[in-house]
């Protein structure tokens, strides 16, 4: 047996509520981290996964305190140690990589200086040796030209590079244990895949143990040897990563895996009902009882203990794991989406370009935008009634910018947006007809921000009803109730404030508000990316249902290709504000495709240890679209030469009907990509 480096024993952490009750965030957690292994801790927000990771370095957040148990490292309990002793361990023995490296780095100090600081604290190297070590570390995290990177400030690096610097700083003290708290969550898909690959390499190269905390089973699957699944402050399942992902024997993990959309499956995954109980509300019985498909009477009053199964090397907290053991292959069933496509075109976007450039005085006076290299250019999409079209791309690809222009929030520089083939939508919000505003509604990414915290649900939904239809009194109430029913929320939600709702419920309210205007087109801006996986599927299913009922057209913006695959009829891939590929979603996900689509598809992380991401292109970040030629020339691995740099590529149409904008002939693209 390998050496155990961290032993968590019966750990409970909690806080005292205003009434003096003890509320537990972590309930009786016991686990061991062995030398050299990578353990993934996965759970929804509020499951206590971050609290557990922080406790492993002897830190308990303000307001929380240790109720019982210990975290033993090198045979001493970290939670009882004095700060002075902890300082010697943190950084040297246990290092932490935070979620947002951009915020964790000091903005006014150069990268090299910050790493040097870490080295001074956590190693005994002399000054000359330290300089050597800095470039060694930067090399190890695969940053290009370490000497110049060391002289830069954090803001001069991209998100992925900042995260790499954070890894380098954590490695400065050659720690035995590395704690990673959602290290790739804020990054683009391609960057994320690269950072994960780097972490894998470092784990092998240095033999460091890692604890990887994430809500993303896809990311966890790529890095971890062992997985701990947490639910409501408890460990519900713990075991080797392959077994857990392939044959989960806890109903929660089973349901979770079923609710994740996958690239290989078109259609919406099944959703899990309900949401995780709030801390302090569970007293008796299994915490997953409400949402469990396998629950029995005894689950209601008795809470199951964590049971260790010798033959599987797995611990599980469920009475019924035996029945799941026999048939727990995750057979994902999807609800095929019905297309309600009509021939009529509802929105024509032609030659649209949008610029963020600051106007000079003359242009301001003449009220025009002059910019020969605008952020978004040459957008031509015709959207049919009842269609769901998805705009896909990494951050900075201009997908949200296009949405804003359709909504009238951002003036276009040129081009026409036409509704119903006859009405020109004015590019300025103030000049738009109220009815034109009504037909296009927005749903935002983060329901915490899109709902006024000081309004009740009733007041929130009443706003469009009052504005567009002038409803009052009883009729208004009746309409609100109907809308709440449509999004599957009870009447009693009317008097609640957004803070009293869970993330999924808030997003449902936002959906209800959008539908209140009886719109023809709904713009969805990353509507599921702020939600937990189990809730995401439910919101997607709801959107699909409403679309079938009302015949609404969706323009769906997302960076998550699997979600897009699940819900959309057609996909438009954008890079640097230029279209790369447009086509029916089933064809875009097949080859041949645009080299950029290939990169995106390769970087998708699936919750399956056997499917590794393909890293096709470098994850460099380009600040500005190129002046001429193909927008993807800077990162393309198939670049032909001068033609890509000088000429805008032509549209090529494949047999199945998707258009690809590339200089490479389709046949060659196909040949290269299938291999």
């Amino acid at each position: 047996m390998t050496e155990i480096i961290q032993k968590v024993k019966n750990l409970s952490i909690g806080f005292k509520s205003k009434k003096g009750e003890e509320i537990l965030i972590l309930r009786n957690i016991s686990t061991n981290i062995k030398k050299g292994e990578t353990v993934g801790i996965v759970g929804e927000s509020g499951s206590g996964k971050s609290t557990l990771a922080l406790a492993m370095m002897g830190y308990v957040k303000q307001g929380l305190y240790t109720i019982g148990g210990e975290c033993e490292f090198n045979s001493s309990n970290l939670l009882k140690m004095k700060n002075r002793d902890l300082e010697k361990i943190r950084g040297r023995k246990i290092a932490m990589i935070p979620q947002n490296a951009g915020q964790a780095l000091t903005p006014n100090l150069k990268i090299g200086y910050q790493i040097d600081e870490a080295l001074q604290l956590h190693s005994d190297l002399k000054e000359e040796e330290r300089e050597q070590k800095i470039s060694e570390l930067l090399n190890k995290v695969r940053l290009p030209s370490p000497e110049t990177i060391a002289l830069r400030y954090p803001h001069e690096l991209s998100g992925g590079q900042q995260q790499r610097v954070a890894v380098a700083m954590a490695l400065a003290g050659t720690p035995d244990l590395l704690l990673l708290d959602e290290p790739t969550t804020g990054l683009d898909v391609t960057t994320q895949a690269h950072v994960l690959e780097l972490l894998n390499f470092i784990a092998k190269d240095t033999g460091t143990s890692m604890v990887y905390v994430s809500h993303d089973l896809g990311a966890i699957a790529q890095v971890s040897d062992r997985i701990i699944v947490m639910y409501s402050g408890e460990i519900v399942l713990e075991g080797p990563s392959r077994d857990i992902l392939k044959k989960p024997i806890h109903p929660y993990t089973y349901g979770l895996l079923k609710s994740i959309p996958k690239l290989s499956l078109a259609g919406l995954p099944q959703s899990m009902p309900g949401s995780q109980p709030q801390p302090g509300t569970m007293h008796r019985g299994c915490s997953f009882f409400d949402r469990c498909d396998f629950s029995e009477e005894k689950c209601k009053s008795n809470s199951p203990q964590l049971e260790y199964l010798e033959e599987l090397n797995t611990s599980v907290r469920c009475f019924n794991h035996k029945s799941l053991m026999n048939d727990s292959q995750v057979n994902q069933t999807v609800n095929k989406i019905k297309t309600s496509l009509q021939d009529k075109e509802i929105l024509n976007i032609s030659e649209v370009s949008i610029s963020y450039a600051k106007q000079n005085l003359l242009d301001q006076v003449l009220n025009r935008i002059s910019d020969d290299n605008p952020t978004v250019k040459d957008i031509n999409i015709n959207i049919k009634k009842g269609e769901t079209i998805a705009l896909v791309g990494e951050s900075g690809s201009g997908k949200s910018t296009i949405l804003k222009s359709i909504a009238g929030l951002l003036r276009t520089k040129g081009g026409v947006i036409k509704f119903d083939q006859k009405r020109n939508l004015s590019s300025d919000l103030k000049e738009r007809d109220p009815n034109d505003l009504r037909i296009i509604q927005l749903i935002f990414q983060n329901p915490d921000e899109s709902l006024n915290p000081n309004h009740t649900v009733e007041e929130i939904i009443a706003q469009p009803l009052k504005l567009y239809f002038g409803l009052k009194g009883e009729e208004l109430k009746k309409n609100i109730k109907e809308l709440l029913q449509k999004v599957r929320l009870g009447e009693f939600y009317m008097s609640r404030y957004p803070r009293q709702l869970s993330g999924g419920e808030k997003q449902r309210v936002a959906v209800a508000r959008a539908f209140a205007a009886k719109p023809d087109i709904i713009l969805c801006d990353e509507v599921t990316s702020a939600l937990d996986v189990s809730v995401q599927a439910a919101v997607l299913n709801l959107l699909q249902q409403l679309k079938e009922d009302f015949g609404t057209t969706y323009i769906f913006v997302s960076h998550d290709l699997a979600v897009v695959r699940a819900i959309s009829d057609r996909v438009a891939v954008l890079y640097q504000g230029r279209l790369c590929e447009v086509g029916p979603s089933k064809d875009v996900y097949q080859f041949p495709s645009h080299p950029y689509t290939e990169v995106l598809l390769g970087a998708v992380l699936e919750p399956d240890p056997d499917i590794k991401p393909k890293l096709v292109a470098e994850d460099i970040v380009e600040e500005k679209p190129p002046q001429k030629g193909c927008s993807f020339q800077g990162r393309c691995s198939r670049i032909l030469g001068d033609i890509c740099k000088n000429e805008i590529p032509p549209w090529q149409i494949t047999n199945s009907g998707n258009s690809i904008r590339c200089h490479i002939p389709l046949k060659e693209l196909q040949k290269d990509q299938i291999n």
Binding site: K61, Q62, G274, S275, P277, Q278, T281, D290, A407, G408, L409, L429, R432, P434, L437, R438, I440, Q441, L442, F444, Q445, N446, E449, S450, L451, N452, P453, N454, H455, T456, Q463, P464, L467, Y468, G490, F492, S495, R496, Y497, Q500, R513, A517
Partner: protein
């Protein structure tokens, strides 16, 4: 669903909300002290005319500069008037004028700040530069000018004080609006086509109200000090109306041998200012706008 019972908190009436805030304020020692002092002063202002033992303007040369005694608790001043009577009456004018002055400051400062924050662009630039220009004028000089031109009547003092103390609120309200304006619910309201007025009234004010009220409460105490300074200089309340600033001004020359006639108004004025300050602090904490939060680690 069982989970629906988690949140019992229902929509509360305004009265319930206000009383909850006051209870939270009073549950801290500093808040309790502040509230007690403030309430004491307010009650005193209402009832002082009825409990004053003597006539505040009765001059009696035979009783000049008496030391505190059982008959004259705080002694008498240089004209033989009872200092206790004048002290308990001395806060009335200041309290009333500055209270209404603060309301005016809150109203115009708050609304203009919110408007500038929402509209932005050139309008915002121009208005804010004008506000900056006014901020650079020492208020006491400007006040002296106004008072000497228009007189020291209440109708002049309230709007003038309200104007000069509202400039700062413009900035606070504008900054608070900027915090809110970037949120998606404002973008959403704009995209729906609501008017500026509707956005200010429905979306912004509920979210910036607390910050502006706290700022207004702080301004009240500053204004009180400012008003007393005016009286001290002889431009506020005109004699023989009792006022702390005026009393301090009159008695300061006699401080070395008749300290009682100056100490009583000083205690009155400073206790009221401290009371308002503590209350404003407790108010901010009760609303969750705590400016002294520590870093998380």
């Amino acid at each position: 669903m069982k989970l629906d019972n988690i949140y019992q908190e229902e929509k509360k009436s305004n009265f319930a909300k206000v009383s909850e805030i006051i209870i939270t304020m009073a549950s801290r020692p500093s808040g309790f002290i502040g509230l007690s002092i403030l309430i004491f002063h307010v009650i005193l202002a209402f009832i002082s005319p009825y409990i004053a033992p003597y006539d505040f303007k009765a001059i009696n040369p035979t009783l000049m500069l008496q030391a505190p005694s059982a008959e004259y608790w705080f002694g008498t001043d240089d004209l033989g008037r009872d200092v206790f009577t004048r002290t308990i009456l001395g806060g009335r004018t200041a309290l009333t004028i500055t209270f209404f002055g603060s309301l005016i400051a809150l109203l115009w400062g708050g609304l203009l700040g919110i408007f500038c924050g929402l509209v932005g662009g050139k309008t915002d630039d121009i208005v804010m530069r004008i506000v900056d220009a006014f901020l650079s004028i020492p208020w006491i000089l400007a006040m002296l000018l106004i008072v000497s031109l228009l007189g020291t009547s209440t109708e002049v003092l309230i709007p003038a004080l309200g104007f000069f103390y509202g400039k700062g609120i413009v900035r606070v309200a504008r900054a608070a609006t900027h915090d809110v304006i970037a949120k998606d619910f404002i973008v959403s309201a704009r995209a729906r086509g609501h008017s500026n007025f509707s956005i200010i009234w429905n979306e912004i004010i509920p979210n910036v109200r607390d910050a502006i009220l706290v700022e207004g409460a702080m301004r009240w105490s500053w204004m009180l000090l400012g008003f007393s300074s005016l009286s001290f200089l002889g431009f506020g309340v005109s004699p023989p109306t009792p006022d702390w600033g005026l009393m301090i001004s009159n008695a300061r020359g006699l401080m070395s041998f008749a300290y009682w006639s100056v100490i009583a108004p000083i205690v009155g004025l400073s206790s009221l200012i401290i009371g308002i300050n503590l209350t404003a602090d407790a108010f901010a904490k009760a609303l969750g706008i705590d400016r002294s939060t520590k870093a998380p680690v």
